[in-house]
Assembly symmetry: C2
Homo-oligomer: 152 residues x 2
DNA sequence: TTTCTTTCTAACAATCGTTGCAGTTTGAGG
DNA sequence: CCTCAAACTGCAACGATTGTTAGAAAGAAA
């Protein structure tokens, strides 16, 4: 098990990338880039929307989804489904794993390689494995405390 | 890494369990029990519905959801969200992991304990981990073949 | 700068999986 | 049988996400 560090792309870099792809640079997109860069969390489309709307109240949720999907298909951000109802976008591209609170939905990154999580060929049955995701599920300290209080 | 075997509960056992809980034994429920028992797959509510409907055309999708949720909250089946659009119910309760085809959504059980997948306390930050899920993502043999054919 | 083409955005409607609700039906104990 | 709480059905509603389209705006060319 090895420990590593996160890494994200800046708004300027993303802007340049869009330009190279022949995509237009709009204030909406730049705003979204900024929010993603300032956010090491795992925001939902809705939460990016809420943040962007503070500086650009007219933006539509549709545009946020569109831009996040574009970024995801360009491979610039990741997309997670952790069973919390809505998809989460992950500005952190490093291969990493997740610690999820089943009570409040909070998500924490785990930077660690579990080198021995490999399947023997016999179990693969011809599958080509492209990625291995590990999700640790449980309760965050806040929710644990709240639960303890309720039981008393 | 250790290898183990699956296990499921029979319709009779589930019936008995419901009786003990004071829940009624209805033909709908028994039908659903049977389908789950014959199914080592990871059916969606919709697919259980389709199967049950063959012998009981009048059953409603609502009832299927209801019963599956009941079973899940009694801890008799598991519930998975593997990002394939809809929730999957897992009649297999043994702790196990999953191999998912990102193209067609097929899910295969992996019976193996990865004993060394543990988080050091320093990374836990007070979290209580209740379960560890490992998802291997990739392409199943069928979809690989189809993709190869398309590229040629 | 003006014009033109192309792409984007906003608004709205539609879809999908799932759940809430209201009225009707039914299993199980008396 | 009867009764009655519990379960069933059908449908409406809901949250997340996507399709559509008219109008606006960006970038290129003149």
């Amino acid at each position: 098990m090895t420990v590593r560090l996160p890494a994200v792309k800046s708004p300027a870099e993303l802007t340049e990338l869009f330009r190279q792809e022949g995509l237009k640079i709009t204030p909406q997109r730049v705003s979204i880039f900024r929010v993603l860069h300032d956010n090491l969390d795992h925001p939902t489309a809705e939460s990016v929307y809420d943040t962007v709307r503070q500086e650009m109240p007219s933006i539509s949720l549709r545009t946020v989804y569109q831009t996040l999907n574009d970024l995801a298909s360009m491979g610039e951000i990741g997309q997670l489904d952790l069973g919390t109802g809505s998809a989460r976008f992950d500005p952190n591209l490093d291969s990493h794993h997740h610690l999820v609170c089943d009570t409040c939905g909070k998500v924490i990154d785990i930077y660690a390689d579990f080198d021995d999580v490999r399947l023997p060929r016999r179990q693969l049955q011809g599958f080509r494995v492209a990625a291995t995701e590990i999700v640790f599920r449980g309760q965050c300290p806040d929710c644990s405390a709240r639960a303890d209080r309720a039981t008393r």
